[in-house]
Symmetry: C2
Subunit: 207 residues, 2 copies
Protein backbone atom coordinates (compact mmCIF):
# COMPACT_ATOMS: atom_id res chain seq x y z
CA UNK A 1 0.00 0.00 0.00
CA UNK A 2 1.43 3.34 -1.05
CA UNK A 3 1.19 6.28 1.34
CA UNK A 4 2.12 9.48 -0.42
CA UNK A 5 3.12 12.58 1.49
CA UNK A 6 -0.24 14.23 0.93
CA UNK A 7 -1.98 11.15 2.38
CA UNK A 8 0.41 11.18 5.38
CA UNK A 9 -0.25 14.89 5.96
CA UNK A 10 -3.96 14.13 6.17
CA UNK A 11 -3.54 11.53 8.93
CA UNK A 12 -4.92 12.43 12.36
CA UNK A 13 -2.09 13.83 14.53
CA UNK A 14 -1.79 10.89 16.98
CA UNK A 15 -2.06 8.37 14.13
CA UNK A 16 0.67 10.14 12.19
CA UNK A 17 2.97 10.35 15.22
CA UNK A 18 2.66 6.60 15.85
CA UNK A 19 3.06 5.84 12.11
CA UNK A 20 6.16 7.98 11.58
CA UNK A 21 7.73 6.77 14.86
CA UNK A 22 7.39 3.19 13.58
CA UNK A 23 9.13 3.79 10.26
CA UNK A 24 12.77 3.93 11.32
CA UNK A 25 12.59 0.35 12.68
CA UNK A 26 13.36 -1.14 16.07
CA UNK A 27 15.06 1.32 18.42
CA UNK A 28 17.22 1.18 21.51
CA UNK A 29 15.43 2.17 24.69
CA UNK A 30 17.44 3.73 27.48
CA UNK A 31 16.71 5.53 30.70
CA UNK A 32 18.71 8.72 30.98
CA UNK A 33 19.60 9.66 34.54
CA UNK A 34 20.39 13.31 35.29
CA UNK A 35 20.38 15.77 38.17
CA UNK A 36 19.53 19.45 38.49
CA UNK A 37 21.95 21.90 40.08
CA UNK A 38 19.55 21.89 43.07
CA UNK A 39 20.22 18.14 43.39
CA UNK A 40 16.87 16.79 42.16
CA UNK A 41 17.39 13.46 40.40
CA UNK A 42 15.61 12.97 37.07
CA UNK A 43 14.95 9.92 34.88
CA UNK A 44 13.35 9.76 31.44
CA UNK A 45 13.17 7.17 28.63
CA UNK A 46 14.87 7.91 25.30
CA UNK A 47 14.69 5.93 22.09
CA UNK A 48 16.62 8.38 19.90
CA UNK A 49 20.13 7.42 21.00
CA UNK A 50 22.86 6.75 18.43
CA UNK A 51 26.44 5.58 18.32
CA UNK A 52 28.50 8.57 17.10
CA UNK A 53 32.02 7.15 17.30
CA UNK A 54 34.35 4.75 19.09
CA UNK A 55 37.62 6.73 19.08
CA UNK A 56 36.88 8.79 21.17
CA UNK A 57 33.75 6.98 22.42
CA UNK A 58 30.76 9.23 21.65
CA UNK A 59 26.99 8.84 21.91
CA UNK A 60 24.29 11.13 20.48
CA UNK A 61 20.86 11.78 21.98
CA UNK A 62 18.10 13.67 20.17
CA UNK A 63 15.90 15.89 22.35
CA UNK A 64 12.52 17.16 21.26
CA UNK A 65 11.00 20.29 22.79
CA UNK A 66 8.64 18.30 25.11
CA UNK A 67 8.56 18.89 28.88
CA UNK A 68 10.00 15.51 29.87
CA UNK A 69 12.92 15.73 27.51
CA UNK A 70 13.54 19.39 28.33
CA UNK A 71 13.99 18.59 32.04
CA UNK A 72 16.74 16.13 31.15
CA UNK A 73 18.33 18.52 28.67
CA UNK A 74 18.32 21.40 31.16
CA UNK A 75 19.91 19.19 33.79
CA UNK A 76 22.68 18.17 31.41
CA UNK A 77 23.29 21.79 30.46
CA UNK A 78 23.57 22.58 34.19
CA UNK A 79 25.84 19.83 35.51
CA UNK A 80 27.30 18.43 32.24
CA UNK A 81 27.07 14.76 33.27
CA UNK A 82 24.36 12.19 32.57
CA UNK A 83 23.89 8.43 32.43
CA UNK A 84 22.49 5.93 29.94
CA UNK A 85 20.91 2.78 31.38
CA UNK A 86 19.47 -0.09 29.35
CA UNK A 87 15.83 -0.92 29.97
CA UNK A 88 15.06 -4.59 30.72
CA UNK A 89 11.91 -6.63 31.35
CA UNK A 90 12.34 -5.92 35.07
CA UNK A 91 12.15 -2.13 34.82
CA UNK A 92 10.39 -1.20 31.55
CA UNK A 93 7.03 -0.49 33.21
CA UNK A 94 8.56 1.92 35.73
CA UNK A 95 10.80 3.27 32.97
CA UNK A 96 7.83 3.99 30.69
CA UNK A 97 6.03 5.75 33.55
CA UNK A 98 8.93 8.24 33.84
CA UNK A 99 7.76 9.64 30.48
CA UNK A 100 4.76 11.22 32.28
CA UNK A 101 4.95 15.01 32.54
CA UNK A 102 6.22 15.31 36.10
CA UNK A 103 7.19 18.83 37.18
CA UNK A 104 10.92 19.56 37.36
CA UNK A 105 10.88 19.60 41.17
CA UNK A 106 9.50 16.04 41.29
CA UNK A 107 12.03 13.21 41.13
CA UNK A 108 10.84 10.39 38.86
CA UNK A 109 12.86 8.03 41.05
CA UNK A 110 10.50 8.71 43.95
CA UNK A 111 7.42 8.85 41.72
CA UNK A 112 8.04 5.47 40.07
CA UNK A 113 10.02 3.53 42.68
CA UNK A 114 13.12 3.22 40.50
CA UNK A 115 16.27 3.27 42.64
CA UNK A 116 19.19 5.54 41.89
CA UNK A 117 22.79 4.38 42.22
CA UNK A 118 26.03 6.33 42.31
CA UNK A 119 29.25 4.85 40.95
CA UNK A 120 32.49 6.18 42.39
CA UNK A 121 32.45 9.99 42.14
CA UNK A 122 30.38 10.22 38.95
CA UNK A 123 27.99 13.16 39.49
CA UNK A 124 24.80 11.83 37.81
CA UNK A 125 22.58 8.99 39.05
CA UNK A 126 22.49 5.56 37.41
CA UNK A 127 19.42 3.28 37.52
CA UNK A 128 20.24 0.49 39.96
CA UNK A 129 18.05 -2.15 38.25
CA UNK A 130 19.64 -1.68 34.82
CA UNK A 131 22.40 -4.14 33.95
CA UNK A 132 24.26 -1.99 31.44
CA UNK A 133 25.16 1.49 32.63
CA UNK A 134 27.11 4.20 30.81
CA UNK A 135 28.34 7.47 32.33
CA UNK A 136 28.70 10.39 29.90
CA UNK A 137 29.96 13.94 29.84
CA UNK A 138 28.47 16.72 27.68
CA UNK A 139 30.61 17.30 24.59
CA UNK A 140 28.60 19.17 21.95
CA UNK A 141 25.07 20.31 21.16
CA UNK A 142 23.64 21.12 17.75
CA UNK A 143 20.18 22.41 16.95
CA UNK A 144 18.58 21.12 13.76
CA UNK A 145 17.19 23.91 11.60
CA UNK A 146 14.58 21.49 10.20
CA UNK A 147 12.47 21.35 13.38
CA UNK A 148 14.37 22.82 16.34
CA UNK A 149 15.30 19.48 17.93
CA UNK A 150 18.64 19.29 19.74
CA UNK A 151 21.28 16.64 19.15
CA UNK A 152 23.45 16.36 22.21
CA UNK A 153 26.73 14.48 21.94
CA UNK A 154 28.18 12.93 25.09
CA UNK A 155 31.60 11.42 25.65
CA UNK A 156 31.72 8.07 27.47
CA UNK A 157 33.52 8.40 30.80
CA UNK A 158 32.74 5.03 32.38
CA UNK A 159 30.85 1.80 31.73
CA UNK A 160 29.50 -0.65 34.28
CA UNK A 161 28.25 -4.10 33.24
CA UNK A 162 28.42 -7.72 34.42
CA UNK A 163 31.63 -9.21 33.01
CA UNK A 164 29.80 -12.37 31.89
CA UNK A 165 28.11 -10.45 29.04
CA UNK A 166 31.38 -9.23 27.51
CA UNK A 167 32.88 -11.45 24.78
CA UNK A 168 36.52 -11.89 23.78
CA UNK A 169 36.07 -9.57 20.81
CA UNK A 170 34.46 -6.71 22.74
CA UNK A 171 30.90 -7.70 21.76
CA UNK A 172 28.44 -7.19 24.60
CA UNK A 173 25.67 -9.80 24.59
CA UNK A 174 22.68 -7.49 25.05
CA UNK A 175 20.31 -10.40 24.61
CA UNK A 176 21.80 -12.28 27.58
CA UNK A 177 21.78 -9.00 29.51
CA UNK A 178 18.04 -8.77 28.84
CA UNK A 179 18.16 -5.35 27.18
CA UNK A 180 14.87 -4.65 25.38
CA UNK A 181 14.24 -2.90 22.07
CA UNK A 182 11.21 -0.76 21.28
CA UNK A 183 9.09 0.17 18.28
CA UNK A 184 6.68 2.98 17.61
CA UNK A 185 5.89 5.03 20.70
CA UNK A 186 5.07 2.33 23.24
CA UNK A 187 5.91 -1.24 22.20
CA UNK A 188 8.63 -3.17 24.06
CA UNK A 189 10.25 -6.31 22.66
CA UNK A 190 12.81 -8.91 23.67
CA UNK A 191 15.12 -10.43 21.06
CA UNK A 192 16.32 -13.76 19.71
CA UNK A 193 19.58 -13.82 17.79
CA UNK A 194 19.31 -14.86 14.14
CA UNK A 195 23.03 -14.77 13.34
CA UNK A 196 26.26 -12.87 13.80
CA UNK A 197 27.94 -12.27 10.46
CA UNK A 198 31.66 -11.93 9.69
CA UNK A 199 33.19 -8.66 8.47
CA UNK A 200 32.08 -8.23 4.85
CA UNK A 201 34.74 -8.18 2.13
CA UNK A 202 34.44 -7.49 -1.59
CA UNK A 203 36.21 -10.68 -2.68
CA UNK A 204 34.59 -12.99 -0.14
CA UNK A 205 31.51 -14.81 -1.40
CA UNK A 206 28.18 -14.37 0.36
CA UNK A 207 27.59 -17.04 3.05
Amino acid sequence: MLYTRSKIDQFDKRFRTQFINSLTGFKSINLIGSKSKEGIENVAPFSQVIHVGAHPPLVGVLFRPGVVERNTLENIREIFYFTLNHITASNFIQGHQTSARYAKEVSEFKATGLKSQYIEDFPAPFIASSKIKVGLKFKEEVTLASNGTHLLVGEIILVDLPEEYLGNDGFIDLEKAGSLTCSGLDSYHKTTVVKRLPYAKVDKPIL
Copy 2:
Protein backbone atom coordinates in the same frame (compact mmCIF):
# COMPACT_ATOMS: atom_id res chain seq x y z
CA MET B 1 32.61 -4.74 36.34
CA LEU B 2 33.68 -1.13 36.04
CA TYR B 3 35.41 0.03 32.86
CA THR B 4 36.87 3.47 33.33
CA ARG B 5 37.77 5.67 30.40
CA SER B 6 41.47 4.95 30.79
CA LYS B 7 40.75 1.20 30.64
CA ILE B 8 38.55 1.72 27.55
CA ASP B 9 41.29 3.77 25.86
CA GLN B 10 43.69 0.86 26.36
CA PHE B 11 41.42 -1.65 24.59
CA ASP B 12 42.66 -2.99 21.26
CA LYS B 13 41.06 -0.94 18.42
CA ARG B 14 38.73 -3.67 17.04
CA PHE B 15 37.72 -4.71 20.57
CA ARG B 16 36.91 -1.11 21.50
CA THR B 17 34.88 -0.55 18.31
CA GLN B 18 32.75 -3.62 18.99
CA PHE B 19 32.40 -2.69 22.68
CA ILE B 20 31.37 0.93 22.11
CA ASN B 21 29.02 -0.04 19.26
CA SER B 22 27.23 -2.39 21.68
CA LEU B 23 26.63 0.20 24.38
CA THR B 24 23.76 2.20 22.91
CA GLY B 25 21.54 -0.93 22.85
CA PHE B 26 19.61 -2.62 20.05
CA LYS B 27 19.53 -0.59 16.86
CA SER B 28 17.40 -0.38 13.76
CA ILE B 29 19.01 -1.82 10.66
CA ASN B 30 18.07 -0.39 7.29
CA LEU B 31 19.38 -0.61 3.77
CA ILE B 32 19.77 2.80 2.23
CA GLY B 33 19.24 2.85 -1.52
CA SER B 34 20.78 5.68 -3.52
CA LYS B 35 21.95 6.50 -7.03
CA SER B 36 24.84 8.51 -8.43
CA LYS B 37 24.28 11.22 -11.02
CA GLU B 38 25.81 8.74 -13.52
CA GLY B 39 22.93 6.38 -12.68
CA ILE B 40 24.84 3.75 -10.68
CA GLU B 41 22.59 2.27 -7.99
CA ASN B 42 24.08 1.93 -4.51
CA VAL B 43 22.96 0.06 -1.38
CA ALA B 44 24.52 0.09 2.09
CA PRO B 45 23.39 -0.95 5.59
CA PHE B 46 22.92 1.73 8.25
CA SER B 47 22.24 1.27 11.95
CA GLN B 48 22.49 4.93 12.96
CA VAL B 49 19.05 6.05 11.82
CA ILE B 50 16.80 8.10 14.12
CA HIS B 51 13.33 9.50 14.19
CA VAL B 52 13.70 13.32 14.11
CA GLY B 53 10.08 14.41 13.99
CA ALA B 54 6.58 13.54 12.82
CA HIS B 55 5.25 16.99 11.77
CA PRO B 56 6.85 17.31 9.23
CA PRO B 57 8.02 13.67 9.02
CA LEU B 58 11.83 13.69 9.35
CA VAL B 59 14.48 10.99 9.69
CA GLY B 60 18.16 11.43 10.60
CA VAL B 61 21.07 9.29 9.38
CA LEU B 62 24.59 9.53 10.78
CA PHE B 63 27.40 9.05 8.27
CA ARG B 64 30.95 8.24 9.27
CA PRO B 65 33.88 9.03 6.98
CA GLY B 66 34.22 5.41 5.73
CA VAL B 67 34.21 4.52 2.03
CA VAL B 68 30.89 2.67 2.05
CA GLU B 69 29.01 5.40 3.85
CA ARG B 70 30.69 8.12 1.80
CA ASN B 71 29.41 6.60 -1.46
CA THR B 72 25.85 6.83 -0.15
CA LEU B 73 26.37 10.33 1.20
CA GLU B 74 27.87 11.56 -2.08
CA ASN B 75 24.96 10.10 -4.02
CA ILE B 76 22.45 11.86 -1.76
CA ARG B 77 24.32 15.14 -2.16
CA GLU B 78 24.15 14.64 -5.94
CA ILE B 79 20.54 13.64 -6.53
CA PHE B 80 18.91 14.63 -3.17
CA TYR B 81 16.71 11.53 -2.92
CA PHE B 82 17.32 8.25 -1.09
CA THR B 83 15.39 5.32 0.35
CA LEU B 84 15.23 3.49 3.67
CA ASN B 85 14.34 -0.21 3.54
CA HIS B 86 13.91 -2.48 6.56
CA ILE B 87 16.18 -5.52 6.68
CA THR B 88 14.43 -8.86 7.27
CA ALA B 89 15.55 -12.47 7.75
CA SER B 90 15.21 -12.95 3.99
CA ASN B 91 17.72 -10.26 2.99
CA PHE B 92 20.05 -9.59 5.94
CA ILE B 93 22.90 -11.71 4.56
CA GLN B 94 22.90 -9.88 1.22
CA GLY B 95 22.32 -6.63 3.09
CA HIS B 96 25.33 -7.19 5.35
CA GLN B 97 27.48 -7.98 2.30
CA THR B 98 26.74 -4.51 0.86
CA SER B 99 28.91 -3.11 3.68
CA ALA B 100 32.01 -4.44 1.85
CA ARG B 101 34.15 -1.70 0.33
CA TYR B 102 32.93 -1.86 -3.25
CA ALA B 103 34.23 0.89 -5.54
CA LYS B 104 31.76 3.65 -6.38
CA GLU B 105 31.37 2.41 -9.97
CA VAL B 106 30.23 -1.04 -8.74
CA SER B 107 26.52 -1.44 -7.96
CA GLU B 108 25.99 -3.44 -4.78
CA PHE B 109 22.70 -4.60 -6.27
CA LYS B 110 24.62 -6.51 -8.95
CA ALA B 111 27.36 -7.61 -6.54
CA THR B 112 24.98 -9.10 -3.96
CA GLY B 113 21.93 -10.12 -5.99
CA LEU B 114 19.59 -7.70 -4.22
CA LYS B 115 16.92 -6.45 -6.62
CA SER B 116 16.13 -2.77 -7.01
CA GLN B 117 12.59 -1.49 -7.37
CA TYR B 118 11.25 1.88 -8.48
CA ILE B 119 8.00 3.26 -7.11
CA GLU B 120 6.13 5.73 -9.29
CA ASP B 121 8.54 8.52 -10.28
CA PHE B 122 10.66 8.46 -7.09
CA PRO B 123 14.27 8.90 -8.30
CA ALA B 124 16.13 6.54 -5.92
CA PRO B 125 15.96 2.73 -5.87
CA PHE B 126 14.11 0.76 -3.19
CA ILE B 127 15.07 -2.79 -2.17
CA ALA B 128 12.43 -5.10 -3.65
CA SER B 129 12.72 -7.76 -0.92
CA SER B 130 12.17 -5.30 1.95
CA LYS B 131 8.61 -5.11 3.23
CA ILE B 132 8.78 -1.57 4.67
CA LYS B 133 10.09 1.09 2.30
CA VAL B 134 10.45 4.81 2.87
CA GLY B 135 11.36 7.40 0.22
CA LEU B 136 13.16 10.52 1.49
CA LYS B 137 14.37 13.87 0.22
CA PHE B 138 17.49 15.63 1.52
CA LYS B 139 16.55 18.39 3.96
CA GLU B 140 19.59 19.36 6.06
CA GLU B 141 23.14 18.25 6.82
CA VAL B 142 25.16 19.09 9.94
CA THR B 143 28.75 18.12 10.66
CA LEU B 144 29.57 17.26 14.27
CA ALA B 145 32.65 19.11 15.54
CA SER B 146 33.33 16.23 17.95
CA ASN B 147 34.50 13.79 15.28
CA GLY B 148 33.59 15.04 11.79
CA THR B 149 30.61 12.71 11.30
CA HIS B 150 27.68 14.02 9.28
CA LEU B 151 24.07 13.95 10.39
CA LEU B 152 21.84 14.08 7.36
CA VAL B 153 18.16 14.85 7.83
CA GLY B 154 15.70 13.60 5.22
CA GLU B 155 12.05 14.43 4.81
CA ILE B 156 9.67 11.53 4.19
CA ILE B 157 8.07 11.77 0.74
CA LEU B 158 6.42 8.36 0.46
CA VAL B 159 5.97 5.11 2.38
CA ASP B 160 5.21 1.68 0.95
CA LEU B 161 4.17 -1.21 3.20
CA PRO B 162 1.65 -4.08 3.26
CA GLU B 163 -1.59 -2.69 4.71
CA GLU B 164 -1.97 -5.73 7.03
CA TYR B 165 0.87 -4.44 9.25
CA LEU B 166 -0.75 -1.06 9.89
CA GLY B 167 -2.95 -0.81 12.99
CA ASN B 168 -5.97 1.43 13.63
CA ASP B 169 -3.81 3.79 15.72
CA GLY B 170 -1.02 4.21 13.16
CA PHE B 171 1.25 1.64 14.83
CA ILE B 172 3.15 -0.45 12.29
CA ASP B 173 3.69 -4.03 13.49
CA LEU B 174 7.38 -4.37 12.65
CA GLU B 175 7.49 -7.78 14.29
CA LYS B 176 4.82 -9.17 11.96
CA ALA B 177 6.63 -7.47 9.08
CA GLY B 178 9.76 -9.40 10.07
CA SER B 179 11.97 -6.32 10.48
CA LEU B 180 15.18 -7.27 12.32
CA THR B 181 17.13 -5.33 14.93
CA CYS B 182 20.92 -5.40 15.31
CA SER B 183 23.48 -5.07 18.08
CA GLY B 184 27.18 -4.30 18.06
CA LEU B 185 28.69 -4.36 14.58
CA ASP B 186 27.37 -7.61 13.19
CA SER B 187 24.63 -9.31 15.23
CA TYR B 188 21.10 -9.63 13.81
CA HIS B 189 18.07 -10.41 15.97
CA LYS B 190 14.35 -11.03 15.59
CA THR B 191 11.94 -9.82 18.25
CA THR B 192 9.09 -11.02 20.47
CA VAL B 193 6.74 -8.43 21.91
CA VAL B 194 6.73 -8.12 25.71
CA LYS B 195 3.99 -5.51 25.96
CA ARG B 196 2.59 -2.31 24.54
CA LEU B 197 2.08 0.28 27.26
CA PRO B 198 -0.53 3.08 27.44
CA TYR B 199 0.44 6.75 27.31
CA ALA B 200 1.99 7.56 30.72
CA LYS B 201 0.27 10.15 32.93
CA VAL B 202 1.39 11.66 36.22
CA ASP B 203 -1.81 10.85 38.08
CA LYS B 204 -2.29 7.37 36.64
CA PRO B 205 -0.87 4.56 38.82
CA ILE B 206 1.77 2.26 37.38
CA LEU B 207 0.28 -0.91 35.84
